[in-house]
Symmetry: C2
Subunit: 450 residues, 2 copies
């Protein structure tokens, strides 16, 4: 098998046993990228010579000095600082911006011997259907260019577009992204990959561009749960309970939370959720619907109030610097065009905060809670990156969420289902997801054709 087809876990094992060098692995990925880049266009910055040089440097590190992720190639959302590449935020304000700084997450990856391949594109999750506004910082720069690898006429989702598309297209085994609304889970679903948003603040966001500090969360993409576990190991993401290594779907109890936004679910997602429930039951699990108590119905409104009011402070600097280069959408946040009052902002902070322990308590009753990842399969066109409506609530609740691929929509495009766990039950969630993912991938009906 071509090395680029391997999961990170497989490739790193080959590197460890000497059957693959980091350089060979890198060259395989680079040739895949070369072959596919015109179709997918996932990269904002990639310098093949630099990647090869870095790979060679990593090959020279003595075996005894290597961490478990030594040689892991990573695609980084162009919203996260990397000291050897520009980080341009997809914004004309930051053209050529290259501050020689690694974000905390990138520093940790690099110190462990990860191979930073390049910066991948990201696009607005604020796009509204019918509007031509395209990128978050930069309507002036034109629309999103990254395509869904499974169908280039469709969006890869956003805002972590390139991270998910690169991983879905075998151009990188692991991607680093971030989520403020649905920017990790949604593109995960659209591209048919696992996407993991850990508990808020469990991984330092230092060096990630701010949007909404109470929401912004670093997340990861991979093509299997094992690869996500490499990340949780690397970032010391521990639960209170000792890690369970085994989890049996048979006899386990799952919840299903359709949530207040369920009426927005399209036929693909309805089928996927129904199918997920049937599969779990057919494998011996108990599945019951979770009725979320009063209060949770206000989550969409509160999430909106927080993104708007926090963005007002966050983007004031760019607004002052070059209002004309800021998208009208973001300029409107700074101008508070929707007149979100401080009282509304505080009600949102406090209302959501009060629900966090409640959802933890509910989720503790289940192996995991199933909930939609998306409205439906990736929509046609690149102007809209789709809706985060099924994700934003969980972002604000700070719970870990993982997108599990396996299902498909009317056009054979992938659809995933989200699994949710209580805060700081990240490792347990990954263990559960491994068993659930095996079933969904085998029997959910979607086939990866790339």
């Amino acid at each position: 098998m071509e090395p680029y087809r391997l999961t990170a876990t497989q490739a790193l094992s080959n590197i460890r046993n000497g059957s693959l060098t980091v350089e060979q692995y890198a060259r395989s990925l680079l040739s895949r990228i070369q072959e596919r880049d015109s179709a997918v266009q996932a990269w904002a910055y990639l310098e093949p010579n630099h990647v090869i040089e870095e790979a060679r440097r990593l090959d020279r590190v003595p075996l005894g000095d290597r961490s478990p992720i030594h040689g892991l190639p990573v695609a980084v959302k162009d919203l996260i600082y990397t000291k050897d590449m520009p980080t341009q935020y997809n914004s004309p304000i930051y053209d050529g911006h290259a501050p020689k700084l690694d974000a905390a997450s990138i520093m940790i990856l690099r110190l462990a011997g990860a191979l930073i391949l390049g910066e991948v594109t990201w696009f607005d999750y604020t796009t509204k259907p019918g509007k031509t506004t395209t990128t978050e910082f930069a309507s002036a720069q034109g629309g999103p260019k990254t395509c869904n690898p499974h169908d280039p006429t469709r969006t890869p989702g956003g805002s972590s577009s390139g991270s998910a598309a690169a991983v879905g297209d075998f151009q990188a085994p692991v991607g680093v992204g971030s989520q403020t609304g649905g920017s990790v889970i949604r593109p995960g679903s659209f591209n048919g990959v696992y996407a993991f948003k850990p508990t808020w603040n469990a991984i330092s966001r230092e060096g990630l561009k701010f949007y909404s500090p109470i929401l912004d969360t670093i997340g990861f993409f991979a093509r299997c749960v094992d690869d996500l576990e490499l990340m949780t190991d690397l970032f010391d993401l521990e639960d209170d309970d000792t890690a369970i290594n085994e989890f049996a779907v048979k006899g386990a109890k799952f919840g299903v939370a359709k949530t207040v936004v369920w009426p927005k679910a399209g036929p693909g997602t309805k089928m996927a959720l129904e199918s997920a429930v049937q599969l779990l039951r057919s494998h011996g699990a108990e599945v019951e619907e979770v009725e979320l108590p009063t209060g949770f119905d206000r989550m969409p409104e509160w999430h909106m109030a927080l993104t708007e009011s926090e963005a007002r402070a966050t983007f004031l600097s760019e607004y002052r610097l070059a209002k004309e280069k800021l998208s009208p959408f973001l300029a409107g946040r700074v101008e508070n065009v929707n007149k979100v009052s401080r009282a509304a902002q505080l009600e949102a902070y406090d209302g959501i905060a009060a629900l966090r322990p409640k959802i933890d308590e509910i989720a503790k009753g289940y192996a995991a809670i199933l909930t939609p990842s998306v409205v439906d399969e990736a929509p046609l066109g690149l102007q809209s990156t789709g809706s985060p409506v099924f994700n934003s609530m969980w972002t604000a609740l700070h719970t870990p969420v993982i997108n599990i691929p396996g299902f498909k929509g009317a056009n054979d495009m992938p659809i995933g289902i989200s699994l949710v766990a209580p805060r700081y039950h990240d490792r347990r969630l990954l263990t559960v997801s491994k068993a659930v993912g095996a079933i969904f991938e085998a029997e959910g009906g979607w086939e990866r054709k790339l």
Copy 2:
């Protein structure tokens, strides 16, 4: 009067009316710095030629293109990125670190025509009496060097040591600092200046080194409230209610919250608070003690749980990079030596979050709540920067707090009193503080002798 003696408001008015140039102002401050630097040692980085060059550039800006703060000299805590100077975090890990990046707050200041004088020192607020650990990142670098300008044998407080000392010593009219525990309010009190910690998140912290994201807050130092109002104007810090420009102490009602840590108050602070209450009453205000409901007594413990558990993620990158250059204190955070469980961390998040609307509701009943700023006047010696015990609760509650100078301790060192308002009542708090500050400064008994 020498320009360096002016408040920012006075100096900017002189610049506006043509009686002072930015260069003249800068030269006056630089000569003050030259005269006093050996005694106070507030600066981590200052390049006089660069300052003069910048001042000249600002003098060349046409009058019609100037913002209200054009020419405002600012001292920046060496924990906040400035693109034309190194930002070294007082850590050997970051020696020579100069990523050519302005923090969001600095970008806003610079775009408005502020004159960034230099980076000022900062020192650990984690120092424990009896320990020789000194600086947050860097026990290896030796102890704090900045002295209290009012008595060089005493600490200026921390962690925003240089910001407060420089302003207290007339080396800069305004300082930018940050507070995670008591790092703005405490040095404000020790140096006899106004110190303002706005509502959490109201000013973007992007480009400020992370410690604890749910606590970290940008703050300001100045020698009068008018100068702090320049900052709230600049950063668009608006309350819901239209700004009141007039506030009369007479007939107003104040609360006094001694809080659960009151037994730690020394004689200086006890006298200051008593004196503050008497002064307000003598000026016709009603003052009553506020009994905080159950729950608030857990704030110190919860604040500690959050700093410890968030620092665990925040400093993982530096720990991996150079554990040996990290102070044992911070390394211990990453190693979670105090075994703060995830459950304890979540209880702290949720417990504090539930108290935020409660304190808002209580504070709305008063013009402001008075509470101690410090245990007592600045202690002798430089090894400890003093205790943040009276500040950390308000940091975690996200309320705006201002230190008002005016009182003194047994050794004639300044002692301030904190005024607290509900979240996002920042402007109202400043207006109230102006009236209260006039009384405390005139009748509180402390005299600025510098």
